[in-house]
């Protein structure tokens, strides 16, 4: 059998949090694929479950959170059959080996994710020493090489610095150097530029693109910023309240957005260079509490095209509306939208299987 063209296939993933106030379905039936060396953007507002999805893949979800269903097939080690990360014990040695050397993560806040008590060199070397059979001197050499790769000036000097001595952009470069030091095949980047200035953001995005070309890793890019997603992603999954509501390639998403939520998001941001006097389009209301998700389509109370009696009673499934474009909305279902006898469609398997 040939090796899979996808590096990761998530199907029907459910990660729920069992809190004292009730169950919070933070991720509720999410499916997507990431191509080898490709970039999947995960777009959504706070609380939509995009970060929990990332944490679930790395098995970093802590109690009361738990993966209750679904598969996370990773084709980096066993390229034909894959490993189901959801089945591996999160505390096992196998999973620890997976983190960092196979799948790495870059977080939003470079200040809180670096240890203030250790030099950045120490922190990069720690990962290298854990995953690779090298001496301390060799690890140091790799750390310097990695800092050079992320375009840090004077890496030999930088390796001795503590996180507080570096600017936000520099810290994020250190995080990326650390994440890439063991050559992972998949990088999960969770809002890596949100805390940065626009000029630094542009530098970091450019750097990530260059490193992806050079090292060939796949990237799962989690963000709320439509501009950043347009720059970085090839495929996009739009999430709302724990579910993927739309999924397509980047061009199709921006030229022909289909889900009312995606459309509304795109209309609600000011477009730079097109100053128009007047008001912005808004999405009415706000994201409901995840403890109290509306019945039917979770977006229906805010939706401009809400169909009475359909959207508030039944849950739309993710269906292909045109080649390469999936949307979960009754507006795109042909015939009788209320037909509950139609079997739920398989998750969009064909993305990336070219």
């Amino acid at each position: 059998m040939a090796a899979k063209s996808n590096i990761l296939e998530v199907s029907d993933l459910k990660t729920h949090f069992f809190t004292e106030q009730g169950v919070v379905p933070a991720v509720d039936g999410v499916s997507f694929q990431i191509k080898r060396g490709g970039t999947l953007g995960v777009l959504g507002e706070s609380g939509c479950g995009k970060s929990v999805t990332g944490f679930s893949i790395l098995r970093l979800v802590r109690p009361p959170g738990e993966i209750v269903a679904g598969q996370i097939r990773y084709y980096g080690r066993d390229t034909v059959n894959g490993d189901d990360l959801a089945q591996i014990d999160a505390t096992s040695e196998e999973m620890r080996q997976m983190r960092g050397s196979e799948i790495a993560m870059v977080f939003q806040e470079p200040m809180t994710s670096l240890d203030p008590l250790f030099t950045v060199g120490n922190q990069i070397m720690e990962a290298i020493l854990y995953h690779q059979d090298v001496s301390k001197a060799e690890a140091r050499k790799i750390a310097i090489e990695m800092l050079d790769k992320v375009r840090m000036p004077q890496p030999r000097e930088m390796i001795k610095k503590y996180p507080h001595q570096l600017s936000g952009g520099m810290r994020q470069r250190v995080m990326i150097a650390m994440a890439l030091s063991c050559r992972p095949k998949l990088l999960i980047a969770d809002e890596p530029t949100t805390a940065l200035d626009v000029t630094t953001e542009a530098q970091i995005l450019e750097l990530m693109r260059e490193l992806q070309e050079e090292l060939g890793m796949a990237i799962m890019f989690i963000t709320h910023d439509l501009g950043v997603i347009a720059e970085m992603a090839e495929e996009v999954a739009v999430m709302y309240l724990g579910k993927v509501v739309e999924q397509s390639d980047i061009e199709s998403l921006f030229t022909d957005p289909q889900h009312p939520y995606t459309k509304a998001l795109m209309q609600s941001i000011p477009k730079v260079g097109q100053k128009a006097d007047g008001r912005l389009e808004t999405i009415r209301g706000m994201v409901p509490s995840p403890r109290n998700i509306p019945t039917g389509c979770p977006f229906h109370p805010r939706c401009a095209s809400f169909l009475q009696g359909i959207c508030d009673t039944e849950l739309p499934q993710l269906k292909q509306s045109k080649p390469g474009h999936w949307v979960s909305c009754f507006l795109y279902e042909d015939g009788n939208a209320g037909h509950s006898s139609t079997p739920p469609p398989a998750p969009p398997q064909s993305i990336g299987e070219g």
Binding site: M170, D197, V198, G227, K275, M286
Partner: protein, 340 residues
């Protein structure tokens, strides 16, 4: 600087320096020039957007204008509705008390800028009590009115801020700023902590309130598309200095300072068809305690020449109403926001 209609605020050569001390005797060995010779004015009922990278002195400038910080030098002339022109930089305590009624602030983080132990009634009613504008039932009525103006239900006035979402809390902060019917509001990154769908609601609210109450805004933000949307004029700051100032359209489409061009080039575009091969600006913001010689931007500037390394360019009027601090402002042809 701008001569259109009446001016509500005129900032002239504003300076805020922090001394750097060393040794046992705390000898002053230098200064961090957080705000250095900043001059601009805001016409009535308009919005001035103030942009720049973090650490460039935007917030310090705003706090110094409000006299939350003592200015090191310069003038801040505020045209008060009741008192006429007042120089805030030298005003005494009583005058400041009177003037501050008419100038208010909206802060970035609605979670930390509202006291969690105060109800909405206390929070929004506090300025009315301090200025003895209302009490008792009248106070309750005024707060109810304000809540309606910002799109919150008056029934909620006995609740505490934790019961509200981020967007709603920002509305509470705006209601509080509006309580005394001010002329001028400083909004310091009012939408940065909000979600995309909530950001649009808040920006619309700020614009509606501007029309309704004839407000003028100093709008500080790092998101250049938000600033373009809401501002009539834009000022760009770099290491404590203004480097460019013009009306929004000209600044975005026909910038005269290479730093502005670099900022515009860096904006991530929500359009996958545009070129992804922009030229990102290199290097980082210099240390304001030890800025470079000459033009502060020259180490990062692709157009820098020998002159830039030793002579500091003054902020000059390049075209009527368009100011830039660059030796080559009239020679360079820089790319605007749609040219990338």
């Amino acid at each position: 600087m701008v001569d259109e209609g009446r001016v509500v605020l005129k900032v002239q050569n504003l300076k805020k320096y922090y001394p750097i001390t060393a040794g046992l005797l705390r000898r002053v060995v230098g200064h961090v020039k957080a705000v250095d010779d900043v001059t601009f004015s805001i016409p009535e009922r308009t919005t001035l957007g103030l942009v720049g990278e973090s650490g460039c002195g935007k917030t310090t400038a705003a706090h110094t204008i409000m006299r939350g910080l003592e200015p090191t030098g310069g003038k801040v002339v505020f045209h008060d509705r009741q008192l006429g022109a007042v120089d805030l930089a030298t005003a005494d305590k009583d005058t400041l008390y009177q003037v501050r009624r008419n100038m208010q602030m909206v802060f970035q983080d609605p979670n930390s800028s509202l006291n969690p132990r105060m109800t909405l009634l206390d929070l929004i009613g506090e300025p009315l009590l301090v200025y003895k504008q209302a009490k008792g039932q009248e106070l309750v009525d005024r707060v109810a009115e304000l809540l309606k103006h910002v799109g919150l239900r008056p029934e909620y006035m006995r609740r505490f801020p934790h019961a509200f979402s981020g967007g709603q809390r920002q509305r509470i902060g705006i209601a509080r700023a509006l309580a005394l019917n001010p002329q001028f509001i400083v909004a310091d990154e009012p939408t940065s902590a909000l979600d995309v769908s909530i950001q649009a609601q808040t920006l619309n609210l700020l614009q509606d309130l501007q029309d309704e109450f004839s407000l003028s805004y100093l709008f500080i933000a790092h998101d250049l598309s938000v600033v373009e949307h809401i501002s009539d004029f834009v000022a760009v700051m770099y290491v404590g200095k203004l480097v460019e100032h013009a009306d929004t359209r000209r600044l975005y489409h026909n910038p005269k300072h290479p730093y502005t061009e670099a900022l515009l080039s860096s904006i991530p575009r929500p359009d996958p068809t545009t070129s992804k091969r922009r030229v990102p600006i290199t290097g980082e913001l210099p240390d304001p305690a030890n800025p470079p010689q000459g033009c502060y931007f020259h180490p990062r500037c692709p157009y820098a020449e020998a002159l830039c390394t030793h002579e500091e360019p003054p902020l000059q009027e390049v075209e009527p109403g368009h100011y830039a601090a660059c030796h080559f402002a009239d020679k360079l042809s820089l790319r605007g926001v749609n040219d990338f």
